[in-house]
């Protein structure tokens, strides 16, 4: 099974910036495309976070949040396509939150709902 070291791919143990998030997003898209186009289909790949030191919500938003919005995937659906390893539980929760958040905002946009109007009230949860 193919394993991609996120730290090696992005060249840093600090997974903080939007740019790095986008870089990971693009790599995942590339891998998914290769997976679907190959015959026979390739095994699921692994995103290995071993060695990372820091991760931010910005990074999670731009990588996994964007991925699941583009693909219209829930967290469970995403996990059917690849594995994530060596991300501590707390950061995994933030990853899932970034997906939930992005999907909610995206659904509102898709319905033509003005996010400004929807979030007009201070308390929206």
């Amino acid at each position: 099974m193919k394993t991609i070291s996120v730290v090696s791919l992005l060249g840093t143990t600090a997974l903080l910036t939007a740019e790095k998030g986008i870089e990971l997003f693009e790599k995942i898209i590339e891998l998914l495309k290769a997976h679907h186009e190959s015959s026979p289909p390739l095994e699921k790949f692994i995103l290995n976070f071993e060695g990372y030191e820091y991760v931010s919500s910005t990074f999670m938003n731009r990588s996994f949040g964007r991925l699941c919005v583009d693909k219209d995937w829930t967290v469970a659906k995403m996990k059917q396509h690849f594995f994530i390893e060596n991300l501590i539980e707390d950061d995994m929760e933030d990853l899932e939150l970034s997906i939930l958040n992005a999907r909610e905002r995206s659904k509102l946009l898709a319905k033509g709902i003005d996010l400004r109007k929807h979030y007009a009230s201070v308390y929206n949860y």
């Binding site: 820091y54 931010s56 964007r66 958040n101 007009a120 201070v122 949860y125």
Partner: protein
């Protein structure tokens, strides 16, 4: 004709600047007074500054010094020593110095001028300077703190876009078992961003409502769906930590402090840009771990 001999002006303002709305309003007023004064060396009747004052004044003086040269000093020699030790860049030659503070408790001023290579700059600064003040806790939780501080800086550059970057300053209070660190940018201001985003279609009434809105889960002035978690996660962390935060922009003040949660105030005077102050509790009585660390002992 009266000869102008006064070289410096004594400004009578309050002496102790805490992180309460009154102090912040006075600090904003101080900026106005310095701006309007024709003196090149201004004396402040101030005896105590929290780090946010240092970060704020340092950057304010950057903006004023672009038009004319001006420096400040305190009538209190100990405060002058503190300013010097903090790396304050606009201390007047008239400053007299008193008792030195333990240098190891001071997180000196750092001005992040731009967002270029921000991640590596911030990591280096946090690891080399701030790290030692981080709570006695797990390695994982230290990372969370570093990540939180990065979010504040990243937000400042993404939304604030100040010409002078972001100034930070901090202090460790060993007897009180916490450290505070403040970030200030004199850019557009968080409240203004929210007002612009909302374009009047909202139930927000004032600047502090805007700040509160920005700190909710999912709220962001960015149009893309993958946004809106940074400030929320910072708040969540500080809740668990029993720390505190204050965000000030325009006349808005939003934050928590000790037992008061999500308090809002309208300041008497407006602050340009955005000021974020956080207090991280490092008391040994608070032992907490991230999920996944429950079985580890520290």
């Amino acid at each position: 004709m009266r000869k102008k001999t006064i070289k410096s002006t004594k400004i009578f303002s309050q002496e102790y600047y805490s992180i309460d709305p009154k102090s912040l309003g006075q600090l904003a007023n101080l900026k106005k007074i310095i701006d309007m004064s024709k003196q090149d060396s201004i004396g402040l009747k101030a005896r105590f500054f929290r780090p946010y004052c240092v970060a704020y004044l340092n950057q304010v003086l950057w903006t004023i010094n672009e038009k004319r040269k001006v420096k400040v000093f305190s009538i209190d020699s100990n405060l002058n020593s503190y300013l010097k030790q903090s790396g304050f860049e606009f201390l007047s030659q008239e400053a007299q110095f008193g008792e030195l503070f333990p240098q190891e408790n001071i997180i000196t001023i750092r001005r992040f001028k731009d967002a270029k290579d921000l991640d590596s700059k911030v990591i280096k600064w946090l690891e080399n300077i701030v790290y030692k003040f981080i709570p006695n806790c797990s390695q994982q939780l230290r990372k969370k703190i570093v990540q939180s501080l990065w979010e504040i800086l990243n937000n400042g550059f993404t939304h604030g876009k100040s010409k002078y970057g972001i100034s930070s300053c901090g202090q460790y209070y060993p007897k009180k078992k916490y450290f505070e660190i403040a970030f200030y940018d004199s850019g557009y201001g968080l409240a203004n961003r929210v007002w612009d985003y909302k374009s009047g279609k909202l139930e927000l009434l004032n600047d502090s409502d805007c700040i509160e809105w920005a700190a909710q889960k999912g709220n962001s002035t960015l149009q893309n769906p993958d946004a809106g978690l940074g400030l929320f996660l910072l708040r969540e962390f500080l809740k668990v930590n029993q720390g505190a935060f204050q965000i000030i922009a325009g006349k808005g003040y939003f934050g928590n402090m000790e037992e008061e949660i999500d308090i809002k105030h309208t300041l008497r005077n407006s602050i340009d840009g955005t000021l974020v102050n956080i207090r991280v509790n490092i008391s040994e009585n608070i032992i907490y771990k991230l999920k996944g660390e429950e079985n580890e002992n520290y």
